[in-house]
């Protein structure tokens, strides 16, 4: 490992030339991931990065860890096999909105439901990039693309809502170019035991440039996003004077100092709460009615599949009379011919 903390992330770069388009958001996400691993000091040989198909899924080739670039949509399943075969590995899945939510939708919800300890980084650019510009399952309704020249007539998935709907216990959101925030949420994802979903609002510079611009642009990002932190009031805005409150069963944006609202009225973020009701509302917030939530939205504890898998096996191994292949084949209804 490099002694220079700032350069430690270089230890995670492979010798391959990165072949994403210049200006693509993926470059920044790759840097964030390498920085996260460096900060967590996970040895390279203890990391497996698994991906499916799509621009984002090329990422394993650029890591000096173990990596497997697999087939479209199936990375969650392959990563599940890797984790169960070798539970000590730190397993990361790299995927995109098409890979995870269209062709891989089934595997995505089931890995979350099982709560296998895998960190899934979902690059959401709301477009199919590698096939050159068709709408994806996260494209906004009405979106015009090569395969929707007259606008889509379908609603998009909201990854946070889908995660919580599949009984997810970790969901975070960040923006590709916000490296500091990305590293924070990726570290939290790594530390979380169970399936962690990190949605990265990623910009496809070629086929869907500026799709997230109305919330990610520096000029208005502070007013249009809210960075959630566990235990902190949900305050946002350039002037830190806006906040979220519960109005009946709905979230509402208020201005501190107006209408008698004080900081004490603002909701305090409880990421660890088992009940996902508020997390779902936060994850679903959309501009312009609401700021878009960033940071760790949900980080609650639940039984972890791979741990239970080992515990159950250890228990049965102790209890069973069958200790070997021989014991098995000679147990039950056998007879001897002399």
């Amino acid at each position: 490992m490099s002694d220079n903390k700032k350069l430690a992330f270089l230890e995670y770069k492979s010798d391959q030339n990165v072949r994403w388009c210049p200006g693509c958001g993926d470059h920044a996400i790759l840097n964030s991931l390498q920085k996260t691993m460096a900060e967590l000091k996970i040895p390279n040989d203890q990391i497996a990065v698994i991906s499916g198909i799509g621009c984002s899924s090329r990422l394993p080739y650029y890591m000096s860890t173990y990596g497997f670039h697999t087939i479209h949509g199936r990375a969650s399943a392959i990563a599940s096999g890797v984790k169960l075969a070798n539970p000590k590995l730190s397993v990361w899945q790299i995927t995109g909105d098409g890979d995870a939510l269209a062709i891989g939708g089934n595997h995505f919800i089931h890995v979350i439901r099982r709560n296998i300890d895998i960190n899934i980084i979902l690059f959401n650019n709301q477009i199919y990039g590698l096939t050159k510009g068709q709408y994806s399952p996260t494209s906004k309704r009405g979106f015009i693309s090569k395969t929707s020249p007259f606008g889509t007539i379908e609603y998009p998935f909201r990854p946070g809502e889908l995660t919580i709907g599949a009984r997810g216990y970790f969901f975070a959101r960040t923006i590709d170019k916000e490296i500091k925030l990305s590293v924070e949420v990726m570290k939290a994802a790594s530390k979380h035991k169970g399936t962690s979903i990190v949605e990265v609002l990623q910009n496809c510079v070629i086929y869907n440039d500026n799709t997230h611009r109305e919330i990610t642009d520096k000029k208005f990002k502070d007013d249009r996003t809210i960075v959630l932190e566990h235990g902190k009031p949900m305050i946002f805005g350039k002037n830190r004077n806006k906040g979220l409150v519960l109005d009946g069963t709905r979230l509402k944006v208020v201005t501190i100092g107006e209408g008698g609202i004080t900081e004490n009225d603002i909701l305090v973020h409880d990421a660890h709460c088992e009940d996902p009701t508020i997390h779902l509302k936060l994850a679903d917030m959309e501009y312009p009615e609401f700021p878009v939530a960033l940071g760790v939205i949900r980080d609650a504890e639940a039984p972890v599949y791979d741990q239970c898998f080992i515990e159950q096996m250890d228990k049965i191994k102790k209890e069973s009379k069958i200790k070997s292949f021989r014991d098995l084949v000679t147990s039950g209804d056998v007879w001897e011919v002399k």
């Binding site: 080739y61 497997f68 169960l84 000590k88 595997h107």
Partner: protein, 615 residues
Amino acid sequence: MAKKSKVIEKEEVVVRFSGDSGDGMQLTGSLFSFSSAIYGNDISTFPDFPAEIRAPQGTISGVSGFQVHFGHSEVYTPGDKADVLVAMNPAALKANLEWLKPGATIILDVDSFDDKNLARAGYKSNDPIEEDNLGSYNIIKAPITTMTRESLKDMGLDNKSILRSKNMYALGLVFWLFHRPIKDAEHLIREKFAKKEKIAEANVRVLEAGYNYGVIIQAVTPSYHISPAEIKPGIYRNLNGNRAIAWGFLLAAQKSGLELFLGSYPITPATEILQELSARKDLGVKVFQAEDEIAAISTAIGASFAGNLGITSTSGPGLALKGEALGLAVMAELPLVVVDVQRGGPSTGLPTKTEQADLNQALYGRNGESPLVVMAASSPVNCFDYAFYAAKIAIEHMTPVILLSDGFLANGTQPWRIPDEDQFPDINPPYVNNPANQWNVYERDPERLNRYWAIPGTPGYQHRIGGLEKDYLTGEVSYDHHNHFKMVKMRQEKIDRVADFIPPLEVHGDQDAELLIVGWGGTFGHLLTALEELQKEGKKVALAHFNYINPLPKNSYDVLKRFRKIVVCELNMGQFANYLRSKFPDVLLRQYNKVEGLPFTVGELKNHFEKILEE
């Protein structure tokens, strides 16, 4: 004093138990076959049950059967037609008429032959014997339901439990018919119902009552005697093909030092492999019931990447879904075994019936030039051996292997002489052994051409693999056209060289035969029986049966060239015959094909072979 019955000495007998799918016929058949095996007969069994769990009561579609073939000498099949049929209701009689030998004994529960059940079975009159012209059969009309009630009347059981015991009455009667002691069955019943003592007692009591009924009627009914077979000494158990496959993998895991990982999704008729291994947590087996067939194979590939022996089990429709992932395993050159327990197709087809029509899919069902090893088991118990060797080849050659079984092998049982583990060779995973700085991902063993296995978690050997074409040495992504062709040929050559590590093709029967019978997979028992019967009749015939399909045994062509007439028999429209033609265009092959969801019968095979011999 009752007169002693006439006892008929027989070499072999086929008994078919048949009733409603809720009548307990599978249990009855299992108990009888186990007792026969303990008695010393060689046996072969096959259950035949409907796809529906509880089809409409009393109808032909709801008939569930279990056939046992046992004999004084070796038996290789469950038998074409029955010498004895137990029919618990009119539908069971009607459904099985086609499968009776002339003059067979039929045991009927006359109590169930009421107007309602007769109508449900499609009888127009109230006399099925007359209607179906069964005068020449030896019919035992036993009042099974009445007698079962009678023998349990003081036990305080509810009506449902009483009726559930009537299969034991029929079983007792069959025990009498073959002069079998009922003590082994009694013991098994008490073991099976250890936690329900009262039910165990009721079953045993009814079993005895059935036996005693036989003693009473013996004056008018002939019975049979079948001497024990000459059987090699050893410890035996009955084993079906699915369980044998599961156990073969357990031995492979032990012999390779690898942990076994099964990713699977329930599908008839392969589900039992998943169930069997799910129960083997005590032996450290990792089983993952996936969300679908694709996830099932994908988890297995992930597990192999991470250093386990990854396997997946399925049937034809599932293999179709696994095609893309299989291609990934070909490209990534990882060990993987896919078990396809074939059933009737296409589409959902006939889920509980047998067929051999997935061969083309196994050989060719992937995009690109995507060669892999294809093998086939040929008897319920040798499913154990071929599962073991499929795993050995997958590991040592770093390749996916498709192991073909079928519904007939999966559910059929035979006695299995429990082998000594030392008879099986070690399996040596080709772990990377070069120092980390002198190693390349696609470096190959010069003999087998497999690449070496570096397990994630090992310091220094971090590498990236994937479905994109790779440089022939470094494993880096390569779109170079020369490299691609080189890799395509390399992957083919790697599979071709497996032929250096498999046994040669054997020829059973007459080495200078007029006719060579060729088969593969689950038809072996029927083909061998037909061969032996023809030989007994003085005909010069031989059999070459394939277990290794891709690659073929190296002497395949030499064997085929030696015979003037060759007939390839398979339960499909000629997939293996066409495969052989593609390999050996100058060999003239006849075909014998059947696609009825049923195994061959020895009778039809013999008829066909005799015709060819006469040509």
